[in-house]
Amino acid sequence: MSSPFADLLGTLVRQRGVMGGLVVSESDGIIVDATLQVGIKGNVVAALAASLFRKARLSSAAAGLGEAMFLTLEAEHGRVCAAGRSDLILVTIADPRTNLGLLRVEMLKGLEGGTLS
């Protein structure tokens, strides 16, 4: 049986360079659903994304900057993106070839779709 997030994750992982898509609980970093290439450590991605997104949300609140919506962590050989508005966040892990702009649009579109709320 497919989860309500299957279509959304399927759309994301079809993007060039995307190695995995996850729906993660922001409060504890637990994976709710994921589509990952073999070898990707989903738990590590989920824990990192949830923690970073939480910190972004809290620091943004402390600075009076409103709600955090989208986050990107860039590294030498890839990137992790996260988008969210509720306790559930949408996460992708991608290699440097990814078109970040396109991926961002797709992830925010995924949020707008209301699947995560």
């Binding site: 450590k41 991605v45 824990a47 943004s60 402390a62 600075a63 900057l65 709600e67 986050l71």
Partner: protein
């Protein structure tokens, strides 16, 4: 909605061509509802394009939004429409002062003073500027006096042509260490001493920030603030709170990247409803954070981040 705003809004709705928009815009401005104030002023100007008071209102809102050049231009328009408008001259003097153009500031304030010699705020401001000019202290007041703000909408300055003009204190330079050299040039130099930087570490990035809607903060590995400032739109320095919430980010990202085989992390950028916030690893396991308004192109934010990292590296080296 407060009674005043409601009453004025109703009045304006009944007669959209009335000049009550001036009062409404000013009330909203004083309450720091700057976007609304701006809308009201712009709509009013559509109907009254030759109203000096309407341009004056727009100038004061622009100052609150940190848009100094726009404020100057609006006051310039006020003077074309009403050459004897003393408030506009005070306003232009104030903007010039904030931009470090002390001679021009003195000229505008002297003209305002000639029009209204009994205005104590103009007299005090003029005295302070003349003292600075006489002492040869031409340091940039914006760089030495104010802190970078996270949101320019919350400027703490009162307004030269409002009911509460700036007093003489706003024209003082509290820091004798004010210097006029540019951040990028400074960051590019490799052999520098602590004396080359502002004495107050909160002002370390002031040159880089300039008049832009940006802020920068250097945190140590524990999330404690080393340099820079983060002033909220309420005018409160929230650097420690922001630092506390972000403590451990650097180490966490490094460990996770190692597990995932993605190499070293180079930046984290997140967008909020009103700003871009970007972070990068800083020397000694610290974290450099910059924030900029959403209107800033993201590419410029990351460039600003790179320059702030370079500057903080040089500064930390100078402390050794």
């Amino acid at each position: 909605m407060s009674d005043d705003v409601r009453r004025l809004s109703d009045e304006l709705a009944r007669d959209p061509s009335s000049l009550v928009f001036l009062q409404l815009g000013e009330t909203l401005r004083k309450r720091e509802q700057l976007e609304l104030a701006l809308k009201v002023a712009l709509r009013g100007l559509e109907r009254h394009p030759h109203s000096a008071d309407a341009h004056d209102l727009l100038a004061r809102i622009a100052v609150d939004r940190g848009e100094m050049q726009r404020a100057f231009d609006e006051w310039d328009m006020v003077l074309r429409l009403d050459p004897k408008h003393g408030g506009a001259r005070k306003g232009m003097g104030f903007v010039c002062f904030r931009q470090g153009k002390l001679h021009e500031a003195e000229k505008y304030l002297a003209e305002a003073n000639a029009l209204d010699p009994d205005d104590p705020s103009t007299v005090a401001a003029l005295e302070n500027i003349r003292k600075r000019l006489a002492s040869g202290n031409g340091g940039h007041p914006e760089r030495s006096e104010s802190l970078p703000r996270a949101q320019r909408g919350g400027s703490r300055h009162s307004h030269p042509s409002s009911g509460q003009p700036p007093d003489g204190d706003q024209y003082r330079d509290p820091s004798p260490s004010a210097r006029d050299d540019s951040g990028p040039d400074r960051a590019a130099r490799s052999t520098q001493h602590a004396a080359d930087f502002p004495r107050d570490p909160r002002l370390l990035f002031a040159d880089l920030i300039g008049e832009e809607e940006r802020t920068a903060l250097l945190l140590d590995a524990q999330g404690l603030v080393l340099a820079g400032a983060y002033v909220s739109h309420e005018g409160r320095d929230v650097a420690q709170e922001v630092g506390a919430e972000l403590s451990g980010v650097s180490e966490e990202a490094r460990r996770a990247m190692r597990h995932l085989g993605l190499g070293e992390w180079t930046s984290i950028v997140f967008e909020t409803q009103v700003a871009y916030v970007a972070m990068a690893p800083a020397p000694q396991e610290g974290l450099l954070l910059v924030a900029a308004a959403r209107t800033t192109p993201l590419g410029l934010v990351t460039r600003f981040l790179d320059r702030a990292v370079a500057l903080s590296r040089t500064w930390l080296e100078s402390l050794r």
